[in-house]
């Protein structure tokens, strides 16, 4: 347990030792604000809620989260520091979890820094704050799922750019797996398979949460996605760490 915390703390410090943290947070805040006001029509809707804010989170994460996750393992492999980390008395699972938690905590910080918009909507009207809290939770869970996918892809690649692009593509497919773009591909398959794939869509699960509906199935879904991809990360590392 303490190894996980130590690794997470080191990793988190590394974000802030480089411009990564600053650039990510500034761009995330700027884009999320811009999307909310211009594309989401925050004022024009005349409703006191954060629906236009959360709607665009999945698309923001699609490009910003892989930028965080791409370095998780690819950088360690490229610089050789993975040899140091893997020969210290820590299990692979501790290292995978520690690094993931650092990245997740970092996106949580970025997400928390959007608090002014919450204050704004409370100042302008009388929103249902329960819905907003649930939506924040859903957003964080979705970011975690993106990060877990990115962690696995980063472990499989030495090159960060390749890791970034593959992660974006896989996240995109997960995001849209409930839509014709993906489902048409399985048109000939039995209905069960089509339904299963449709059920994997991040967007469907996130939309329910962002409307304030806490369905345990949505929460469990995201947690399972995270655990599955982190487990895959540890297997990939076990196989490829020394390549």
């Amino acid at each position: 347990m303490s190894a996980i915390v130590t690794i997470a703390r080191r990793e988190l410090r590394a974000y802030f030792a480089t411009p990564v943290a600053f650039v990510f947070i500034v761009i995330f805040l700027a884009l999320s604000g811009w999307f909310t006001f211009y594309l989401g029509g925050f004022y024009e809707r005349g409703q006191a809620d954060l629906q236009p804010f959360f709607t665009f989170h999945s698309w923001l994460y699609l490009f910003l989260v892989p930028a965080i996750s791409m370095r998780l393992w690819a950088e360690e492999r490229k610089s050789g520091s993975i040899e140091l980390l893997m020969t210290l008395p820590v299990s692979i699972w501790d290292a995978v979890l520690g690094k993931f938690l650092a990245a997740w905590l970092f996106t949580a910080v970025a997400l928390a820094l959007t608090f002014p918009i919450w204050i704004t909507v409370n100042y302008l009207g009388d929103p249902d704050n329960g819905v907003i809290v649930t939506a924040y939770l859903g957003s964080l869970l979705m970011a975690g799922a993106f990060l877990a996918i990115g962690s696995c892809i980063s472990a499989a690649n030495r090159n960060q750019v390749v890791a970034f692009i593959i992660t974006v593509v896989i996240c995109f497919l997960f995001l849209l797996s409930g839509f014709p773009l993906v489902l048409d591909f399985f048109a000939g398959a039995p209905q069960v398979i089509v339904d299963t794939i449709a059920g994997l869509s991040f967007l469907t699960h996130f939309n329910a949460l962002s409307k304030g509906v806490i369905d345990l199935r949505d929460v469990v879904y995201f947690l399972l996605v995270i655990i599955a991809w982190l487990y895959a990360t540890s297997i990939v590392l076990e196989m490829k760490k020394a390549d």
Binding site: R10, A17, S79, E83, T87, V90, A242
Partner: protein, 315 residues
């Protein structure tokens, strides 16, 4: 004690390490010698738990590197090849991190890190990012990381690579200071280093152990062991001198050098030919500039063992 039994690693069709077995006891400083690609680094990585062996087993202080890896790693201090670390960290943060992973905290962590910093003279660079440090300091940060938990076993992959002569001397001194009750394994291309710090040398090539002896015994294998080399001044007649030496009892053969001023006389077996040649030189008043007894040449032994064909060509 560390032990390897039939340790083997295949990379696809390539056999990097081929059934290596050896044991090292406390107090031994083992030098791993071999050409590039011989399997030194792979063997060390298997001990460190970074590369899983294809076959065979290895133990560190009784802990299997496969079934009891965490306990084995806890007993080991390991310097990976090239001393990788986290470039954006400062040495103090980095060493604190490694110490925390190794389970130290509070005062004990500070003491451990402080001792390692002092041993490797890192005091002046503690707060500079590691990526801005010179090669020598980076290597020393890597060494500090390896020794800070005072491990019974140290495995150092090319600890002096890229260091200047003064730094090499310091690192060798450090190894010598720590060697009394530890097991230390170092790999190196530098043959003088084996002579300077190791009391045992293993030569490997193509993944196999070709020699496992003390450095002195290895040197004794050299055909130069107890040979005599002399050099004449410009007006000396090398051919005449060579002919005289060939007649000395115990001399097997004489090789003259292309500069036409020096030659080496090789003894027959263990014969000591220096006194006779010295006497003869006085008797005949050879215009000598230099007369020396060769102790043996480790690089020649190394070449004979690891690449017998090319060594024969060169000779």
């Amino acid at each position: 004690m560390i032990k390897a039994e039939g340790l083997t690693k295949h990379y696809g069709p390539l056999t990097a390490v081929d059934q290596i077995s050896f044991k090292v006891e406390p107090g031994e400083v083992l030098g791993f010698l071999g050409p590039n690609g011989a399997g030194k680094t792979t063997t060390m990585r298997m001990f460190a738990g970074f590369v899983p062996p294809t076959a065979g087993s290895a133990e560190i202080c009784g802990h299997s590197i496969i079934s009891d890896a965490l306990a084995a790693k806890a007993k080991l201090g390991y310097l990976p090849e090239g001393a990788p670390s986290y470039g954006e960290m400062r040495p103090r943060e980095f060493l604190d991190f490694v110490a925390a992973i190794r389970g130290y905290h509070g005062d004990e962590l500070r003491t451990r890190v402080g001792e390692a910093v002092e041993r490797l003279n890192l005091g002046t660079v503690l707060n500079q990012p590691i990526e801005t440090l010179s090669k020598g300091f980076k290597r020393r940060v890597g060494l500090a990381q390896a020794i800070l938990h005072d491990p019974p076993v140290l495995i150092l992959d090319e600890p002096t690579d890229g260091l200047d002569p003064n730094q090499k001397h310091e690192v060798r001194q450090l190894i010598a200071d720590m060697s009394a009750n530890k097991i230390i394994v170092i790999s190196t291309h530098i043959l003088e280093e084996v002579d300077a710090v190791c009391n045992r040398a293993i030569i490997i090539a193509h993944g196999r152990i070709l020699a496992d002896e003390t450095p002195e015994n290895l040197i004794h294998r050299s055909r130069y062991h107890n040979a005599v080399t002399l050099r004449l001044s410009r007006d000396g007649d090398l051919d005449a001198v060579a002919a005289d030496i060939r007649a000395v009892a115990g001399v097997d053969h004489v090789e003259t050098r292309s500069d036409a001023r020096s030659l080496t006389a090789f003894p027959d077996g263990d014969a000591m030919i220096l006194p006779s040649i010295g006497d003869l030189a006085g008797e005949k008043s050879w215009p000598l500039e230099q007369l020396q007894l060769e102790s043996g040449r480790l690089d020649e032994v190394f070449r004979t063992i690891t690449a017998p064909d090319s060594a024969a060509e060169a000779a």
